[in-house]
Symmetry: C2
Subunit: 360 residues, 2 copies
């Protein structure tokens, strides 16, 4: 879809690949703007199915189902970056797919992503390509210990990662991440983790939300706080980095850039997520426009909004059995409770979140 794409009508149909809570919240945001949504997901228990105009439950390789899906929608987007490239390419031949599937090739591969960011003159942790176990020792030689071995593809929430410390067995680490193509990253002694949610429209306009500070537990996001405890200078630099990445990609939609803040205030890009992001959930309650709505606006060819934040915001994920405590949050004054409608509680599963906005 080019930048001159015609804007959709307010009752057009948006196709969404993926039916998890991100797809669900995208569909809810689309509905607020008058759009219908068609959700495509291989999982029959998809939370997004409950709020969609139409659903397709089929495998991402089912070309007949994809054909019917493409014929029913005016534009396609996705809730997560691990949609098979063939699926996105198949659809893009039939209907506009936003953001451009070509970007997935970069963001699905940690090595390509690091090279892309690095080439923009933006800081990243020192890294080395580890194509096979034999290359690991040489990489350690260059990067030093401690370091983190990460699979190039399909990692999330700490999956596909192994720490390499002073006495670590290299071959064991290689096996731990699944004996596949990896990169080795220097361990960065960061002071805090932050993220920037940026949106870029068809017209090239970029709007960033305020920098969010993120606290992880067992590699899963637990709490996000806005604004992050950063100098105005560092916060501006973080936003500038996200904006540069969005522009250089020719990106349309919402992307998240995760950054490490070093002791001296320096910033290193940790990861890019070419989609709405858990650390942006606070925007549903704490701002005049949410990350989900910005993404839908971009995908529809509508103008972005300049977000106005309503106060200091804190978002807490409800993970696994924590969700059973929801009544406590329901009764908490000013707490906005979001539950994803997942009947099965599993450890580590994101079941909902709670946002509190402090206007004092």
């Amino acid at each position: 879809m080019s930048e001159s794409a015609v804007a959709l009508e307010a009752y057009a149909t948006i196709g969404i690949l993926g039916g998890g809570q991100l797809g669900r919240m995208l569909a809810l945001a689309a509905a607020r703007l008058g759009f219908k949504c068609h959700i495509f997901s291989p999982n029959p228990d998809s939370p997004a199915f409950d709020v969609a105009h139409r659903v397709t439950c089929a495998d991402y390789s089912d070309t007949q189902a994809l054909d019917r899906f493409a014929a029913d929608v005016d534009v396609v987007t996705y809730e997560f970056e691990n949609v098979p490239a063939e699926t996105a390419t198949f659809l893009a031949a039939r209907v506009p797919v936003v953001p451009d599937p070509k970007i997935l090739a970069t963001t699905q591969d940690r090595l390509a992503e690091k090279k892309f960011v690095s080439a923009l003159g933006i800081g990243v942790a020192p890294f080395a390509d580890v194509a096979e176990p034999a290359g690991l020792a040489a990489a350690i030689e260059r990067i030093g210990r401690p370091a983190v071995l990460k699979t190039r593809r399909f990692g999330y929430d700490g999956k596909g990662q192994a720490a390499i410390k002073a006495g670590s067995d290299l071959l064991a680490a290689w096996r731990e991440v699944g004996a596949q193509a990896c990169i080795l990253e220097a361990f960065v002694p960061f002071e805090r983790e932050v993220s920037v949610i940026a949106a870029r429209g068809h017209d090239g306009a970029v709007e960033c939300f305020d920098v969010t500070e993120n606290e992880h537990r067992d590699h899963i996001l637990k709490v996000s706080r806005v604004p992050a405890a950063l100098s105005a200078e560092a916060a501006n630099e973080a936003r500038r980095i996200a904006e540069t990445i969005a522009r250089k990609f020719g990106y349309v939609g919402v992307l998240a850039v995760e950054l490490f803040v070093l002791r001296d205030g320096g910033l290193l890009v940790n990861e890019i997520a070419p989609r709405v992001h858990n650390s942006g959930h606070w925007t549903l309650d704490g701002a005049s426009v949410s990350q989900f709505e910005q993404h839908i606006r971009a995908v529809a060819g509508w103008p972005l909004q300049k977000p106005v934040r309503y106060g200091r915001v804190e978002m807490t994920n409800l993970i696994g059995h924590e969700v059973e405590d929801y009544r406590r949050y329901l009764a908490m004054p000013g707490a906005a409770v979001h539950l994803y409608g997942k009947a099965a509680v599993r450890p580590g599963r994101k079941m909902g979140h709670v946002t509190r906005v402090f206007t004092d």
Copy 2:
């Protein structure tokens, strides 16, 4: 459903009678809390159908469809008060219906409603029962002119009303409202119109939103502003009136009380709407909990939230062709745009609304 009703699980199914924008926004709020919705509406173009887990398009008198609907849902509620009493009664024999359908008998009839409010010692405009045209002259004798003749049933947005001024022809007025049972109300020289959105939970707890000031155009709500320009005393009194009405009804859910503010600060109840209300749409963006979510919480047997308002709020309805101007609002910083997904634009039809929150 008694006050000891067991709270629903977060993935239970809520049945909603009516598929307009109110049903749509109720369904969106229910989804945020993890519920599934089943919408029942006779209108195939129902905006709420687009965001529902399941839909039934059937007449309110179709007992087979109602039977299947009742079997599929855990609780039933409605988006508007003109659901046929027989429909509500039929369903209530099969599944909990909230709020209690008995309340509809009062609020569907302007005469019964006025008597109910009056009996609580709450002020209303002087009124007289006009069962037939012959009684109109006597009623005018008692109430005086100017006055307003209103049908007892099925009036909304100024429909079913005729002004009776100095020279008005009484029989013409009677015919204008459809020659049916009416009440005559004294014309009240009010200074402003306000409303209170109140929620009452199964546990008897009541939470009122801040008093809203409403501006009508051609008898249709055009702008709501919060807070209303009232003394703290009058605002408290307005909330107390709404709370008293909710308690005396034994009401569960959200109701709206429209009031006239007189020059001396006195308050008269104009109308009760036993449902979410257009003048409460600002709560979607301007408060930590919306009227739609409060209603769903009450219906589900969940605790209400004590709402926190994020600032001064202004909500503007997009009526008829005004919606075509939506791109102007989309680009307005801080403006939250809601479009109801109605493809057909008709004069006087509510197509969407825009909310602005001012945190200064």
